[in-house]
């Protein structure tokens, strides 16, 4: 017998046995008995089984008798018989005997529920909860990658498998935190503390086993993943068996084979990259401050950002604000010497946004001091200079955001990839020809289930793909049909400088049309939307505090990473 049913039945009998005071003090004795039984059942179900709690039960029951007197005798019965009661002090006083009856009923109910439960325990044996999720898990889901896609899949699986079920989830990632990339430029610009935009995977995922490691190989025949622990000794790789394998490996920077650029530029993908850029900018100012030669000084405070997409534009805006802001602490550096240059191969920045917004962004950034080199390519990079297609720029700083490519591990796994290097998947995100293998996010060529268009490699899509894939894996585990992935973009947001942003919000039910915002309003939308999307209440609070401090205090110029 199920424990809840058993408790309810016991409570009903206890309610019946306790109902005499109710019947004696209320107008309708038979109805009182019925009410007593129902309430007894509810009381026992609500209290649960606590052994030996006679006194607690009696006191709690008696105390609950008082509001029950109000709800049933003072309101319920008159409402059902003669309409809503007049409900004044005199009419309440006339029901005083029933108050005594209810208190007595409650006290008796508390004692008898305990007594009957003890008797039932002796006769039928002690209550036992269903042994849910006991024993070894029979199905293993292994997720490779702890970015938006991997994290959303794990969280979705936890939600979907909530309440037990013989399924274990393991997440393998070389980082122990989820990086909230939309705010990465603010870390590079010194307005946010680095760790505040990262959420520890161990704290966020409650049912998922987290393994900090790198996937070396996948044996699709034996269904195992070979994982080497980060920082572990060679040869200590472990094999993790899987029934379902999720590839959410993300993307890496693509230098298109330009080794010099790769060697002499700063990357902008990870938290460490962002911190390194901030520290590098401060280091350049430190050197420039003691540099007597104007040309060299000018080169030191020249910062080149390659790539005019979201990442490049936001980073250029952030570096521009940061460098011009901290120049007050470096009196030897004139504000006219500072130069932030954005190099982009096309004729306009922000190809993801409409042209009017892109022009607005360019105009605003130019007004704040950003130098644009459109239709220009970065050809080479050497220490102290960057060669562009239209000339040479003397600088110590080149940040590369001009290209990304799916994680090359996919190729080493022997999966079929498209020309970008992304895993070819069906619209359900299942890898064709590899049962139980799924891929999503930046590393997969996911096509929309309705429009058939390729999904862009953005966090917005990765999060939805993760949730959809979790549902599909749940369906696969239960033998149900899978659903193709479909999601219409909600829009795009991009910060271009201090309290200035561009926003393009897609209109619901009119997907071809969008609303465009710019300036302060768009900036407030950016902050509002992204703070709500930032995982974890604690992180939200920390970022809000950072933003508040930023209003009142100058940005910090403490170097936290030793310069190379």
């Amino acid at each position: 017998m199920k424990p809840l049913f058993r408790r309810t039945l016991t409570g009903a009998f206890a309610g019946l046995a306790s109902s005499y005071p109710l019947a004696a003090t209320n107008a309708a004795p038979h109805a009182s008995l019925l009410v007593g039984i129902v309430l007894g059942a509810a009381f026992a179900a609500g209290l649960g089984r606590i052994r030996g709690a006679y006194a607690e039960g009696a006191m709690a029951g008696a105390a609950l008798g008082i509001p029950l007197w109000i709800l049933v005798t003072c309101i319920g019965v008159p409402s059902l018989t003669v309409g809503f009661p007049p409900f004044d002090a005199d009419s309440i006083r006339t029901l005083f005997p029933a108050l005594v009856g209810w208190t007595l009923y409650g006290g008796l109910l508390g004692v008898l529920t305990q007594a009957f439960s003890e008797v039932v325990d002796r006769v039928a044996g002690a209550e036992s909860e269903p042994a849910q999720a006991q024993g070894p898990a029979s199905k293993n889901v292994v997720i490779l990658g702890g970015g938006f896609a991997g994290m959303a899949t794990a969280a979705g699986l936890e939600q979907d498998l909530h309440g037990g079920g013989p399924v274990s989830v393991t997440l393998v990632s070389d980082q122990n935190a989820l990086l909230f990339t939309p705010m990465l430029a603010e870390v590079a610009g010194g307005s946010l503390e680095a760790s505040h935009i990262s959420t520890p995977l161990r704290s966020s995922l409650h049912r998922t086993e987290f393994v900090r490691g790198l996937a070396e190989a996948v044996d699709f025949e034996r269904r195992v993943v070979k994982v080497s622990c980060v920082g572990g000794a060679p040869g200590t790789a472990r094999e993790i068996p899987y029934d379902h394998l999720v590839l959410a490996l993300g993307s890496v920077s693509n230098y298109f084979g330009a080794d010099n650029i790769e060697r002499h530029s700063l990357d902008f993908k990870t938290l460490l990259d962002a911190s390194r850029i901030r520290n590098h900018v401060i280091e350049m100012f430190e050197r420039a401050d003691r540099e007597p030669d104007p040309e060299t000084r000018r080169a030191l405070v020249t910062f080149v950002v390659a790539g005019g997409g979201f990442a490049g534009v936001e980073l250029a805006g952030a570096i521009n604000d940061f460098s011009r802001g901290i120049s007050a602490d470096y009196p030897a550096v004139a504000s006219g010497e500072i130069r932030v240059m954005l190099v982009h191969s096309r004729d306009r920045i922000l190809p993801e946004l409409s042209e009017s917004l892109a022009r607005y962004a360019q105009g605003r950034m130019a007004a704040r001091g950003v130098d644009f080199r459109l239709g220009t390519r970065v050809l080479d990079a050497q220490p102290g200079q960057v060669t562009l297609s239209d000339g040479v720029v003397r600088t110590q700083t080149l940040v590369w955001t001009a290209g990304t490519a799916p994680n090359p591990l996919l190729k080493s796994f022997g999966l079929e990839t498209d020309k970008r290097g992304a895993a070819v998947v069906e619209s359900t995100m299942a890898v064709a020809g590899r049962p139980g293998v799924w891929a999503l996010g930046d590393c997969a060529a996911v096509k929309d289930g309705i429009s058939g268009k390729a999904c862009p490699p953005t966090a917005q899509f990765a999060l939805r793909q993760g949730a959809a894939l979790a549902r599909n894996i749940g369906c696969a585990l239960r033998g149900k049909p899978l659903a193709p992935f479909h999601f219409d973009s909600l829009g795009s947001l991009c910060v271009v400088g201090h309290q200035t942003a561009c926003a393009e919000i897609t209109l619901p039910f009119a997907r071809s049309r969008s609303l465009r915002f710019s300036g302060l309003l768009a900036w407030m939308m950016w902050r509002g939307i992204y703070i709500s999307k930032l995982p974890g209440l604690e992180r939200k609070a920390r970022v809000l505090l950072d933003w508040t401090f930023e209003i009142f205090f100058p940005r910090d110029i403490v170097q936290t990473i030793e310069p190379k």
Binding site: G46, R51, E56, F87, L95, V100, H162
Partner: protein
């Protein structure tokens, strides 16, 4: 990942394995002596109350053995049991004599038996519980976790601060509810000093008695109210008349005259409990929880924000459900300020906004108090009751007229809205509990954190049910009997 096995909770094992005859004899002796004393003061039958007291002591010692773990816990169990004794015995007599009772006669009889209520509480329930608590502490020799200095300093300071806040309202009218009826004070400054002395005394003894039981701000509020109500019975009915050399009068007529001070005591207890627990919580947060060695899965900030959000949603639900009753009781009109000619819709919006705000305070005060629907409902009812005394009886009149109206007539006028307040508390508590349980079940899925989460919830063996019975029972009974 394995999920921890669900187990039926049990109460902590009672002290010792066999029957403690000393404990039983002590309880019988204290109960009999208390009953006889109550009868002597209340001019009742000594044999009747003396034997009732002895029987009470016997039943109390047997039924609550092992639960009176400290003098404070024993006292709260005693107060609840004392109230039950008064309520149950005559009721049994009425019921067993058949259905031939009349409402007026029963109400009149209850009023006539008011001296017995005072006796049951001050002479039987509280002393028996207190003595068994002292005996339990001595026998188990467990003083671990108790800090005398903290109890005295924090309790005394809380009492004085509560009195200070409280006195701001009372100063204009020269009305000091804590010492109302103490006749020998002629000068105003003397009254002020004596008022603070009594407040400090209540606060200090509160700290000494309940330091182990106070867990959260909300439960501390309940403990404060219960203890302050006990002081109303003890001081106004017995100690002050004795100190003033006057005749001790436990009648319902005198209780009606003391109706204002009972509200004063309830509000004082509320403030006392919150300040005491607040000092305790701040101390714990600053010097204990902040230690990395004591790190919890989530910091207090996250818990605070979660409780705030859940409490707001729960309060809004409570406000919505209690809205029809509040409208019927005329509360919405009063909120909208009919005199100022404001639209009732404004009153509805204001009611929901206030409900949300109060619900948020419930979340902050009562988080982690229980994981059980029955006990959760009790805390909610207690909260609703306290807000009835604090809201329509105190704050609303102060906002409208600048003075609070603590007369039995005002209580009679506001009695219908008490129902709405109780319903509000009930719904708020259960919606909040639903949020809390959902979240906790989430955390409990990981066995590593299950033990930590369980520790944060009040165990079932504390005297919380007795406290709720005492406060809710008297909180509803007194306006009915005395107004």
């Amino acid at each position: 990942m394995p999920i921890p096995e669900a187990q039926t909770p049990s109460l902590p094992a009672a002290r010792g394995s066999g029957i403690d005859w000393v404990e039983i004899l002590l309880a019988i002796a204290v109960g009999a002596a208390g009953g006889a004393l109550a009868a002597a003061i209340g001019h009742s039958s000594i044999a009747r109350l003396g034997s009732a007291g002895a029987a009470f002591g016997l039943v109390f010692a047997l039924a609550l053995r092992g639960k009176a773990t400290s003098p404070g816990a024993g006292m709260i169990w005693g107060l609840g049991a004392g109230y039950m004794l008064w309520m149950v015995l005559p009721a049994l007599a009425v019921i067993l004599h058949g259905a031939g009772y009349s409402t007026d006669a029963m109400l009149g009889e209850s009023r006539a038996r008011f001296p017995e209520l005072v006796g049951c509480i001050t002479c039987i329930g509280a002393p028996v519980g207190f003595c068994l608590g002292v005996w339990g502490t001595v026998r188990s020799k467990s003083a671990g976790g108790f800090h005398w200095g903290r109890a005295i300093v924090a309790g005394g300071a809380a009492g004085v601060i509560a009195a200070l806040i409280f006195t701001r309202w009372m100063y204009k009218g020269d009305f000091y509810p804590l010492i109302y009826g103490f006749g020998r004070l002629e000068s105003h400054s003397g009254a002020v000093v004596f008022h603070f002395f009594v407040a400090c005394l209540i606060g200090t003894t509160f700290g000494l008695l309940f330091q182990r039981d106070v867990r959260n701000l909300g439960s501390a509020m309940g403990w404060g109210v219960a203890y302050s109500m006990f002081w109303w019975f003890l001081a106004h009915f017995t100690l002050f008349p004795l100190a003033a050399g006057a005749r001790v009068d436990w009648s319902s007529d005198r209780a009606s005259r003391l109706f204002g001070p009972i509200i004063g005591h309830i509000l004082f207890g509320l403030i006392l409990g919150i300040i005491y627990a607040g000092v305790d919580v701040v101390w714990t947060r600053l010097f204990v929880d902040s230690d990395p060695l004591n790190r919890k899965r989530q910091g207090p900030g996250v818990n605070f924000l979660l409780a705030l959000g859940w409490g707001s949603a729960a309060g809004f639900s409570g406000g919505l459900v209690s809205l029809p009753l509040m409208m019927h009781a005329g509360m919405i009109g009063r909120l909208a300020g009919h005199g100022a000619g404001l639209h009732p819709v404004f009153g509805v919006c204001l009611h929901l906004a206030v409900s949300t705000f109060i619900g948020a305070s419930y979340g902050l005060l009562f988080r982690g108090e229980t994981s059980n629907v029955v006990f959760g409902s009790l805390w909610g009812l207690l909260f609703g009751l306290i807000w009835w005394y604090a809201g329509p009886m105190t704050l609303l009149p102060i906002l409208r007229t600048g003075e609070c109206d603590w007369t039995p007539e005002a209580a009679a006028a506001h009695l219908p809205s008490l129902v709405g307040h109780l319903l509000f508390g009930l719904v708020t508590a259960n919606v909040f509990l639903a949020f809390e349980r959902r979240y906790r079940s989430w955390l409990l899925e990981d066995p590593r954190y299950a033990a930590l989460e369980k520790r944060r919830t009040r165990p079932v063996a504390t005297p919380a049910p007795a406290l709720c019975l005492f406060v809710i029972g008297l909180g509803v009974l007194l306006p009915i009997l005395l107004s």
